[in-house]
């Protein structure tokens, strides 16, 4: 697999920390020092599909391709505009792609999981050009009365167009089935036969436990994939970590003894956009001209599941 184009899209409303103080018992200082976040983009009248379409069109243009060139749409989302049809299906219809459409739910690790899936499909020849789109409406699943969680998230979509190639050097994916520290429950329905009904909830997260899990796993997973790729930490040009908390990125960077430029962040103005965070960051770096052909990018993500995913890719230019 190699990445042929990148794209991203954000909703129009900027919500800074001061705005949150209008209805939450919180402070700009607390949010900044604890997470690094100053503002985030939040959906108002946009649908998630609209964001996904914009990100996709940008990625197609970046790749010099059109929807007619795509034969598989792979979506990653925790919650689309509809439970069913999938985001990928809705996107396939909106873009006019002729091909298969599938969503995965890898939570915040969804993008790297999706790249791994795409690599398998492309390597087997089952697909030739895939559109991978991560779109997340975190504002719709957060509890906006819970100051511990709602301040963390933002909305957005990131997309890549991928084709066959030697750019996907290796990956390492894990899952620890444990809902306790990070979960969300859906509408239980009204079946007259159900004897147990788990009430619907907003997203719940045990911050310190997830922080520890994220830092430890990210360090271990990155070491593993970097070695698997036959490289060294100093030899990696860019480290793109899931933008969950600036302190996680910093904790990993310090443990790898790497300079800040190698660990770019955008959480300051994006918040945590779940699986969209890495592809949005990738697109921003690409459009800023910060990626050169031949450079290596190590990615690491972690999320509800608990899932983790890490990979090393070689940038072939997009």
């Amino acid at each position: 697999m190699r990445i042929l184009g990148t794209g991203s899209a954000l909703p129009g409303l900027t919500v800074d920390n001061e705005r949150l103080m209008e209805f939450l018992d919180t402070s700009d200082e607390w949010i900044r020092t604890r997470t690094g976040i100053c503002s985030r983009q939040i959906m108002t009248d946009e649908t998630l599909l609209q964001l996904a379409v914009r990100a996709s069109e940008a990625a197609l243009e970046s790749a010099g391709l059109s929807a007619a060139d795509i034969d598989y749409v792979l979506g990653s989302t925790v919650l689309a505009d509809t439970i069913t049809p999938s985001l990928a299906c809705a996107l396939q219809g909106a873009l006019g792609v002729a091909g298969a459409a599938l969503d995965i739910n890898g939570a915040c690790a969804g993008f790297v999981y999706a790249l791994d899936v795409a690599d398998a499909y492309l390597s087997s020849g089952k697909a030739k050009k895939m559109l991978v789109v991560c779109a997340e409406s975190m504002s719709r699943i957060a509890d906006w009365t819970d100051r511990a969680t709602c301040v963390l998230f933002g909305d957005g979509a990131g997309a890549v167009v991928v084709g066959a190639g030697e750019g996907f050097l290796c990956s390492h994916l894990t899952s620890e089935g444990n809902a306790a520290p990070l979960n969300m429950y859906p509408n239980p329905g009204n079946s007259p036969f159900a004897t147990v009904r788990q009430p619907a909830t907003s997203l719940y997260m045990d911050g310190p436990e997830i922080y520890k899990f994220a830092v430890q796993h990210s360090v271990d997973d990155l070491r593993l994939v970097i070695e698997k790729a036959g490289l060294s930490p100093d030899g990696i040009d860019h480290y793109l970590l899931h933008q969950a908390n600036r302190r996680i990125v910093e904790a990993v960077r310090v443990r790898f003894k790497q300079p800040e430029e190698k660990f770019p962040t955008n959480i300051e103005v994006r918040g945590n956009t779940s699986s969209a965070s890495i592809p949005i960051l990738l697109d921003e770096l690409n459009r800023a001209g910060r990626l050169r052909a031949g450079e290596t990018i190590a990615m690491s993500a972690f999320g509800a599941g608990l899932t983790t995913a890490a990979c090393v890719i070689r940038w072939t230019g997009a």
Binding site: R34, P208, K212, A251
Partner: protein, 74 residues
């Protein structure tokens, strides 16, 4: 021994004078939030080769040291 080691690591982490850290110092006194505690615990785990469960009831240095001793003896 363990207290001195942890105090030293904490002083280094926070950039504070190690003599200001006492067994009864609470994390709040030391201006550590829960993510700071998680970070510190990870460093202790790496340095001492133990696994420590994070527990909200551990709120001061003495309780943390006790938890580390229990992990070492486990």
């Amino acid at each position: 021994m363990i207290f001195e080691k942890v105090a030293e690591m904490l002083a280094d982490y926070k950039g504070i004078d190690v003599s200001t850290i006492a067994p009864e110092s609470t994390f709040a006194d030391l201006e550590l939030d829960s993510l700071d505690v998680a970070d510190l615990v990870m460093q202790i785990e790496d340095a001492l080769g133990v696994n420590i469960e994070l527990d909200p009831s551990v709120t001061n240095m003495a309780a943390l040291v006790k938890r580390i001793e229990e992990a070492k003896n486990a």
